[in-house]
């Protein structure tokens, strides 16, 4: 029961955002129709995939500032691999694997060098971004079109899919991650480490191993998001998703994740992603300038965390 009540806040926020724009006479008819919702969902796929991994990391008491750079590296590598003549499937796998390696290195340095995640991933943010630019020789890599580029289209080709394959991938991985987090020993160990790492160790949790797995898994998801980014852009762009890591972290936090660890949920994170996506979409439709969106999203982050704090005090 409690797990559900904890999500009331984010859900109310989402409903509030949607109803505000639905009531705006200028955009109401365009905002709340199926085509628009589909397009918002498609736009959310990339942030959502990264945010799934980020939820796992934040639950275990960590943070990953390299998520967006990792995504860009994967995006570039997919284009690079396709240009080498590799099959699209292998290219996509290479992108995902690269993400996994970056994540693994994060986990490895955090556990072996006993450095705080903030520092390690801050460093990795620069390293991955630099590598992406190096591979791409500081420019966009054009690549021939393939089935990968159909993953993010709004009207999917086998029309019985209804929505783009990207959305299905997002739904699938959300389910997998939710089950992993709530219904497995690994998930329980991640929560325990985030809640109190010393206690976890005392209870026989192999904290280092779990942490490496957490960062690797999250890296894989960033790699997958990179493939999606390539699919959307049709080029490998090393400067894509600059600063996106903060959106990703914001989504987790709006969804009830605590930066001190031990708290967070996949459903909450998804709601957080959609709050931001609908807000951006609505503001754009209204013709409101960019800076206006930024101010609103900033205010929402602060409001969400404040409400969460208040709820905790009541407990």
């Amino acid at each position: 029961m409690k797990k559900i009540t904890g999500l009331v806040g984010p859900f109310v926020g989402l409903i509030l955002v949607i109803s505000i724009f639905s009531l705006m006479p200028e955009v109401s008819d365009r905002f709340l129709n199926l085509a628009n919702i589909k397009s918002v969902a498609t736009q959310s796929v990339i942030v959502a995939l990264c945010a799934l991994g980020m939820t796992l990391i934040i639950v275990s008491g960590g943070i990953d500032l390299s998520a967006a750079s990792n995504l860009a590296l994967s995006c570039v590598l997919v284009a690079y691999a396709i240009n080498l003549g590799v099959s699209p499937l292998l290219a996509a796998l290479a992108g995902v694997a690269a993400g996994g390696i970056v994540g693994f290195l994060n986990g490895f340095f955090i556990t072996r060098l006993r450095l705080v995640p903030f520092i390690v991933t801050l460093g990795m943010m620069g390293i991955a971004r630099g590598l992406a630019k190096w591979v791409a020789r500081n420019q966009k890599i054009d690549a021939p079109l393939s089935w990968i580029n159909e993953l993010m289209v709004r009207t999917p080709r086998p029309s019985w899919l209804l929505v783009s394959p990207g959305i299905w991938i997002m739904v699938l991985f959300s389910l997998v991650m939710a089950v992993l987090l709530r219904k497995t020993v690994f998930g329980r160990h991640a929560f325990a480490i985030g809640s109190n790492e010393l206690t976890a160790r005392l209870c026989g949790v192999r904290t280092d191993r779990v942490k490496v797995a957490v960062y690797s898994l999250s890296g894989l998801l960033c790699g997958l998001a990179g493939v999606m980014e390539f699919s959307r852009l049709t080029v490998g762009d090393p400067t894509v998703a600059m600063g996106l890591e903060l959106d990703i972290i914001a989504a987790v936090v709006i969804g009830g994740g605590s930066l001190s660890g031990g708290e967070g949920s996949i459903l909450g994170t998804l709601v957080g992603v959609f709050i931001m996506a609908f807000l951006r979409n609505g503001c754009t439709m209204m013709g409101w300038p960019n800076y206006f969106q930024e101010i609103i999203i900033g205010a929402i982050i602060i409001a969400a965390v404040t409400l969460d704090r208040l709820r905790h005090r009541q407990e």
Partner: protein, 508 residues
């Protein structure tokens, strides 16, 4: 009463929701006396302290300081009106210097610039008064010992010219030497006319330092009087409301075969290797001063600290402690001395804390069954008498005694055979203590083995079968409990010298 009280409380009441925590409590404190407040955990002591400090507002009743109505708007206001509270967990900023900590919020300044000279002079005077002139105002607090930090905290109270000092469990993390020095300070303050409210679980200490006492039970005053006219037994009886026939219930148990044998066990934090044997059905007490290496020995044994050399044999099988998961698999279980920081994940719920070390029974084809986990936790709650609303309750909402029972329940749940208990009764109420002693006896009767580290000698003598003494990172001596007295234990712990008496029946 001839003397006018410095502080008087009349009819103080406070409830949280429908739950009355304090019910018409009267209390008074004169200048130049030490007045102890006693009671089990949950008796209302902390609430009373928080009302005094200004953190809580009472629902009813009056507070008067020197004839003036005292109605603090908050802790800061309370401090300004002359009440300084020194909490169990010291409230110092570790990275700031002694001076900065003492003067925090009360800096001498002119035009916003800190006047260091004036500050330093004030601090020097206070530290000299406290007999600790050796504490330099310029070193960061994190470099001080716990005892010295407490002196800094007291200095802060004195600089703010507090007339009333409230000390909440001041000695719980102090060594005996530091406790003695703290008592000297308290006596000095008392002579200067400061009123001191002293809250502690250590009844012997209360008898030594306090002039009067007030016992709270279930939010009411259960008794009060002069400490020189009472005894530990009487105080306990007042606290728990019935006669404590046996504080140390002894269940019959017989030592069986050797379950644990350590030879030359040493970690980087221990100065000498340790050889030790433990039998099934045995409670081995471990005495020593704080920092004597007792905790370090347990940690090395359990695989929390890296083992440098040595060998451990558990039930005839060799084993080198490395990961705690392996130790748990071999039947070891450890209770940490610090349940707040290490022992328990306070932000997690009771079920997760209780079952974390053994989740296997709840896993079916990779998936965790949360409902069965909760059911199991409820069973353990009733078996150990853990008082909580539900197994889903967050752990920080439980009292210290109940938290400790959760930590113990975890070891029972993981089916440990060898219990490494580090200060299991620290900071918990008398009833919970008695239950933990009884539990240790039950474990021994059940042919399991217990290593029981404690700084409280009466409980070691009352519960353990044999007692080992550590001194400066070294195991000095092991003897049957009957061959020890409080005096001989203390001597061995302080001097590290073996006493003349040879142990009986332990000859090879």
């Amino acid at each position: 009463m001839p003397e006018k009280p410095l502080l008087s409380l009349t009819g103080i009441s406070k409830s949280f929701g429908h739950n009355p925590v304090l019910d018409r409590v009267d209390f008074d404190l004169r200048g130049g006396e030490v007045h102890a407040i006693l009671g089990e955990n949950g008796a209302g002591k902390s609430t009373l302290i928080k009302i005094l400090s200004g953190a809580y507002k009472p629902d009813g009743g009056r507070m008067v300081i020197s004839g003036v109505e005292y109605r603090p708007a908050g802790p800061l206001d309370g401090r300004r009106q002359g009440i300084a509270v020194i909490y169990q967990e010291l409230n110092l900023a570790p990275h700031l210097t002694v001076e900065e900590n003492i003067m925090l919020g009360q800096e001498e300044s002119r035009f916003g610039l800190v006047e260091r000279k004036k500050n330093q002079a004030r601090i020097k005077r206070v530290l000299e008064f406290l007999c600790h002139p050796e504490i330099s105002p310029d070193i960061p607090v994190r470099k001080l010992t716990v005892g010295a930090r407490q002196v800094v905290e007291i200095a802060r109270a004195l600089v703010s010219q507090a007339r009333i000092l409230v000390m909440d469990e001041p000695t719980s993390s102090l060594s005996q030497e530091d406790t003695r020095r703290l008592f000297e300070i308290i006596r000095k303050l008392r002579a200067e006319g400061t009123g001191i409210i002293y809250v502690s679980h250590f009844l012997e200490e209360v008898l030594e330092i306090a002039d009067r006492f007030t016992v709270l039970r279930d939010g009411r005053v259960a008794g009060r009087g002069l400490t020189r006219e009472t005894s530990v037994e009487e105080l306990i009886q007042l606290m728990i409301g019935r006669r404590m026939s046996e504080l140390f219930p002894r269940l019959p148990h017989e030592p069986g075969e050797v379950i644990l044998r350590c030879s030359g066990v040493q970690s980087a934090r221990m100065s000498r290797p340790v050889d030790l044997e433990l039998r099934r059905g045995e409670i081995l007490g471990v005495a020593g001063l704080v920092g004597a290496g007792r905790t370090e020995f347990l940690r090395a044994l359990f695989g929390l600290d890296k083992l440098e050399k040595g060998l451990v044999v558990v039930s005839g099988r060799q084993f080198r402690p490395s990961y705690t998961a392996v130790s748990i698999g071999r039947g070891l279980g450890m209770l940490s001395e610090d349940r707040q920081v290490e022992g328990l994940a306070l932000r997690m719920n009771l079920t997760d804390n209780l079952t974390l070390s053994r989740l296997k029974p709840y896993v079916r084809s990779g998936f965790l069954n949360g409902r069965r986990q909760t059911t199991a936790a409820s069973e353990w709650m009733s078996r150990l008498g853990i008082r909580a609303r539900s197994p889903e309750q967050k752990l920080w909402t439980l009292s210290g005694g109940n938290q400790q029972k959760v930590a113990l329940a975890r070891l029972l749940h993981q089916e440990a055979e060898i219990f490494l208990l580090d200060e299991p009764t620290r900071g918990i109420d008398v009833m919970s203590k008695a239950q933990i002693y009884e539990l240790m006896g039950r474990l021994a009767a059940d042919h399991r083995a217990v290593i029981f580290v404690s700084s409280y000698l009466p409980e070691l003598l009352g519960v353990a079968d044999r007692i080992a003494v550590f001194h400066r990172g070294q195991l000095v001596e092991v003897r049957p409990a009957a061959d020890w007295t409080e005096a001989s234990l203390m001597k061995a712990a302080i001097t590290g010298r073996e006493s003349k008496v040879q142990s009986t029946g332990e000859q090879p």
